[in-house]
C-alpha cells in the first residue's frame, strides 16, 4: 500500500506529460480534399501521389510539384533535401500548412520508404 502513492504520482506525471506533449504537437493527418475544408491553424500532414509536373530549382534544393489523392490535388512547395526515392508516382507525406496562395508549403517531406516487406506482385 505504501507504493500506491508513488505509483499514483508517476501515473499522474506520465498522464500530464502525454497530455501536454500531444496537445502541443499532434498534427492532423488529412487527405487533399479534407485539407480544403480544414480550418484549424497549425501544421498538418497530407498524403498523396506525386504527379509528373515536378520542377526543381536551386540545385535541386527547392522543388514544386502537384500532390494528388483520388480526384483532388494540391500544389506543394518544399525546400530541402528530397527523399531518395522521390519521383512522380510515389506516395509522399508532406508536413506543413496550406498558404493563402493555395499552395501547400511543406516543412518536411517524407517518402513512403520501400521496406523489406513491400512486395511488387509479379504479373505475368
Amino acid at each position: 500500500m505504501r507504493w500506491a502513492l508513488p505509483a499514483l504520482v508517476v501515473a499522474a506525471c506520465v498522464g500530464y506529460l502525454i497530455y501536454t506533449a500531444s496537445g502541443g504537437s499532434a498534427e492532423y493527418y488529412l487527405t487533399v480534399s479534407e485539407l480544403r475544408s480544414h480550418t484549424d491553424s497549425g501544421d498538418v500532414r497530407v498524403a498523396g501521389v506525386v504527379q509528373a509536373d515536378v520542377q526543381k530549382s536551386d540545385g535541386g534544393l527547392h522543388v514544386m510539384f502537384t500532390e494528388k489523392d483520388g480526384t483532388d490535388s494540391v500544389p506543394v512547395d518544399y525546400t530541402g533535401t528530397l527523399p531518395d526515392i522521390f519521383k512522380p508516382g510515389i506516395t509522399v507525406v508532406a508536413e506543413g500548412r496550406l498558404g493563402k496562395d493555395g499552395v501547400f508549403h511543406a516543412r518536411t517531406l517524407l517518402a513512403k520508404c520501400p521496406s523489406r516487406f513491400s512486395t511488387t506482385p509479379y504479373t505475368q
Binding site: W3, V14, G89, Y122
Partner: protein, 656 residues
C-alpha cells in the same frame, strides 16, 4: 519446383507436430504423466527440426535461383550479390515469418532441454504454450503467407531487391531484430506455465531470466544496428525517427529492461511476483501487437508494408493472448499476493520499483503516440504526433531514470533510512553518493562555463556523468580488495557485468543527447573550389564526375576536409525506373561526425549538398557495444551453482 513441394511438406509436418505437441503437453501436464510430457517435448523438437528443413529448402531455392517460387522471384534476381540473395530469406513477409518460427523453434527447444528440472507440470505447460505460439505461426505460414507458393510460369529472372536494401546492414540488422522479437515468446511461455501450474514462486525466474536476457540482448543489438544502418544509409543525418516500426521494437525492449531489474528483487527478496509476471507477459503482448500494427497497415508509417492477409490473423492472435493472460493473472491473483513486508521507498529495491514504474510510463508514452492515429481516427479526424511529442513526454522520464541509475546501485537492500542514525555523513550510502554527486556538479559547472544554457543539456550530461561515476566507484571498491578480486569477480560476475552495461548506456545516452541537441545542418550549392564551413569544419568542393557501374550510374563528388577527401555520391538505377540512392560520406572522429549528402549535381559543374555536423554520434555505437560486452561478460557460461544459490536464497517464496 520440387523444392516448393518439399518446403510445403516440411511446414505441414511441423504444423501437425506442433499442434500435437501443444495438445499432448497440456493433457499430460494436467495428468502429471511424465512419459507423455516427454513425448510432447520431443514433438516440439521434431516440429523445430521440420522448420529447420523448411528454412534450409528456402535458402537452397534462393541460392540456386529457383524462380519457380514466387518468393524467390519477388525478392532476388540474378544480379543480386550472393550474400544478399541469402539474406532474401528474411527479406520478405513470408520468409521473415518462417525465420521467426525457426528462431522460436530452435531457441524454444534449447530452453526446454533443461526444463525437466522445473517439475513435470511446469515443464509440460511451458512446452504447451510455446507449441501453441509455434503452431500459430505455422498456420499463418501454411494458409496465408507461404514462402513456397509456386508461379504458373517460371520467369527467367527475378525482380530483385530494392537498392536501399542492397547494403551490408541488410545482412545484420533484420535477422537480429527478428530473432529478438521471436525470443520474447520464451520467457512468456515459462511465465504462463508457472501461473498455469500454480507455482508462482521463483523457480521460473531463475530459468527464464537467461532467455529474457538473450531476447533483451538481441533486441538491444538490433535497435543499435538499426540506428547505425539508418544513419549510414538513409542520408537524413539522424538515426531515430519515432516511426511506428521503430516504436514497436522499442516497447518490448523497455518492458524487458524493467523485468530484468525487478526480477532481481524477486530473486533476492521474494517480492514483486505479480509484477514480474505482468512485465514478461506485457513484453510478449507488445511484440504481437507491434507485429500486427506494422504489418497490417492500420497506422500510417513511412515504411510501407505490403498490406497482406496476415493482419487479421495477428489481431485474432493478439486478442487471444490478451484474454488468456488477463484470465490467467486474475485466476492466480490470490497466490501472487502473500504476506510479505512492503518494499521500503529508499532502498535498492525501492529504486528498482520506481525505475520500473518509470519504464512502464515510457512504454505508455510510446504506445499512445503509436496508436494515436488509430484511436483519433475512430473518433473523428486522424491525428499524428511527431518526434517532438516523444521528446517532450518521454524525455523527462528518461532523465529521472538516469538519476535512479546513478543513485540506485549505491543504496543498500531493505531500508536505507535505518542506517542514517549515526549521522548523515557516516552513512555508507550517503558517502557513496558523493562521487556521482560531485561528478554531476563538475559537469554542470563545465557546461555553464562553456556557455550552455539549454535545460535538457544541463540535465542530461551531468546525469550521464553521475551514472558513469557510480559505475566507476563500484569498480574502485572492487579494486581495493585487489587480492580478492578474482573470486569477487567470479562470484558477482553478473553484478559487475551489469555495471559495465550501465556504463555503456551512459555513453550511449551521452551520444544521443549531444548529437540530438547540438546537431548543425547547412544546405548549400557550391561551384568547384568553393568552401562551406559548418560548426568549425571547413569543406572544399573539388569537383564531381560520373561513374558507370554494372547496374547503375553514380555521380561522385569530392569534398576536401583537412587532409581527407569525402566522396558523397548519388546512384541512379536505370533498371528500377530511375530510382536514385544517396551514398552518404561520413568522416568520424570521437568528437563529431561530418556527414555530407550529395543532393544533386548541376550542368554547370556546381553541386548541392546537405552538410551535417553530428557531435558524439560514435559514442552511440561504442555505448551499444559496451552494453553487449557487459551482458556477455556478466552472463556467458554462468555456472549452475550461481543459479542454485539464487534458489536457496528464496526459500520463503518457494514454499507458498
Amino acid at each position: 519446383m520440387i523444392l516448393g513441394y518439399i518446403g510445403v511438406g516440411a511446414l505441414l509436418a511441423a504444423l501437425v507436430l506442433g499442434g500435437f505437441s501443444a495438445v499432448l503437453s497440456f493433457w499430460a501436464g494436467a495428468q502429471e504423466n511424465a512419459v507423455m510430457v516427454q513425448v510432447g517435448r520431443r514433438a516440439f523438437y521434431a516440429a523445430a527440426a521440420m522448420i529447420v528443413v523448411a528454412g534450409a529448402v528456402l535458402e537452397w531455392a534462393l541460392l540456386s535461383h529457383d524462380f519457380s517460387l514466387a518468393y524467390v522471384t519477388e525478392h532476388t534476381d540474378l544480379s543480386t550479390p550472393t550474400a544478399l540473395v541469402a539474406a532474401g530469406f528474411y527479406g520478405g513477409q513470408e520468409g521473415s515469418l518462417l525465420y521467426w518460427a525457426l528462431v522460436l523453434g530452435v531457441l524454444g527447444s534449447a530452453s526446454l532441454v533443461a526444463s525437466a528440472s522445473l517439475g513435470v507440470r511446469l515443464a509440460a505447460f511451458a512446452t504447451g504454450v510455446m507449441a501453441v505460439i509455434l503452431t500459430f505461426f505455422l498456420v499463418v505460414l501454411v494458409l496465408v503467407a507461404s514462402p513456397f507458393d509456386l508461379l504458373s510460369i517460371t520467369p527467367p529472372d527475378g525482380l530483385g531487391l530494392n537498392p536501399v536494401l542492397r547494403d551490408g546492414g541488410m545482412l545484420i540488422h533484420p535477422p537480429v531484430v527478428l530473432a529478438g522479437f521471436a525470443s520474447f515468446a520464451i520467457p512468456f511461455s515459462f511465465a504462463a506455465a508457472a501461473l498455469l501450474a500454480g507455482r508462482p514462486d521463483s523457480t521460473w525466474i531463475a530459468h527464464t531470466r537467461r532467455f529474457a536476457l538473450i531476447a533483451w540482448s538481441l533486441q538491444t543489438t538490433g535497435l543499435v544496428l538499426g540506428m547505425w544502418w539508418a544513419y549510414h544509409v538513409l542520408g537524413w543525418g539522424g538515426y531515430w525517427g519515432w516511426d511506428p516500426v521503430e516504436n514497436v521494437a522499442l516497447m518490448p525492449w523497455l518492458a524487458t529492461t524493467a523485468y530484468l531489474h525487478s526480477s532481481m528483487v524477486q530473486e533476492t527478496r521474494g517480492r514483486l511476483r505479480a509484477w514480474n509476471f505482468s512485465l514478461v507477459i506485457v513484453a510478449f503482448l507488445l511484440v504481437v501487437f507491434g507485429t500486427f500494427i506494422v504489418r497490417s497497415g492500420v497506422v500510417p508509417s513511412v515504411h510501407t508494408f505490403a498490406i497482406s492477409a496476415i493482419g487479421p490473423w495477428f489481431l485474432a492472435f493478439l486478442f487471444l493472448c490478451i484474454v488468456f493472460s488477463v484470465v490467467l493473472l486474475a485466476a492466480r491473483s490470490n497466490a501472487l499476493g502473500g504476506h510479505v513486508e512492503p518494499v521500503a521507498l529508499v532502498s535498492r529495491e525501492g529504486a528498482f520499483v520506481l525505475q520500473n514504474l518509470l519504464l512502464v510510463g515510457v512504454v505508455v508514452v510510446v504506445l499512445w503516440g503509436t496508436v494515436l492515429p488509430l484511436v483519433s481516427g475512430m473518433f473523428g479526424q486522424q491525428r499524428v504526433v511527431g518526434a517532438s511529442y516523444y521528446e517532450r513526454a518521454a524525455g523527462p522520464l528518461f532523465l529521472v531514470i538516469l538519476a535512479l541509475m546513478a543513485a540506485g546501485p549505491l543504496l543498500p537492500w531493505r531500508r536505507a533510512a535505518g542506517r542514517v542514525r549515526g549521522g548523515l555523513r557516516g552513512s555508507p550510502s550517503v558517502r557513496a553518493l558523493m562521487w556521482p554527486g560531485a561528478t554531476a556538479v563538475i559537469v554542470l559547472a563545465a557546461l555553464v562555463v562553456g556557455g550552455v544554457r539549454s535545460m535538457p543539456a544541463l540535465l542530461a550530461f551531468p546525469l550521464t556523468g553521475a551514472v558513469a561515476a557510480t559505475c566507476f566507484t563500484q569498480y574502485a571498491r572492487l579494486g581495493r580488495g585487489w587480492s580478492r578480486m578474482p573470486s569477487l569477480l567470479g562470484r558477482r560476475r553478473r553484478r559487475y557485468g551489469a555495471y559495465l552495461a550501465h556504463l555503456g548506456l551512459a555513453v550511449l545516452v551521452t551520444g544521443i543527447a549531444a548529437s540530438h541537441l547540438w546537431q548543425q545542418e547547412r544546405d548549400v550549392t557550391l561551384s568547384p573550389g568553393q568552401q562551406v564551413t559548418v560548426a568549425g569544419y571547413t569543406l572544399t568542393y573539388v569537383g564531381s564526375q560520373d561513374r558507370q557501374l554494372a547496374d547503375h550510374t553514380e555521380l561522385v563528388a569530392a569534398m576536401r576536409l583537412g587532409d581527407a577527401t569525402l566522396e558523397p555520391a548519388r546512384a541512379t538505377y536505370a533498371g528500377l525506373g530511375g530510382q536514385s540512392l544517396t551514398h552518404v560520406a561520413i568522416s568520424t572522429t570521437p568528437v563529431a561526425d561530418v556527414y555530407v549528402v550529395l543532393v544533386a549535381g548541376n550542368v554547370d559543374g556546381s553541386a548541392s549538398f546537405s552538410v551535417f555536423v553530428n557531435p558524439l554520434v560514435s559514442w552511440i555505437w561504442a555505448g551499444g557495444a559496451i552494453i553487449i560486452l557487459g551482458v556477455i561478460l556478466g552472463n556467458l557460461g554462468e555456472s549452475a551453482p550461481a543459479l542454485e544459490s539464487v534458489r536457496r536464497r528464496v526459500p520463503a517464496a518457494a514454499s507458498t
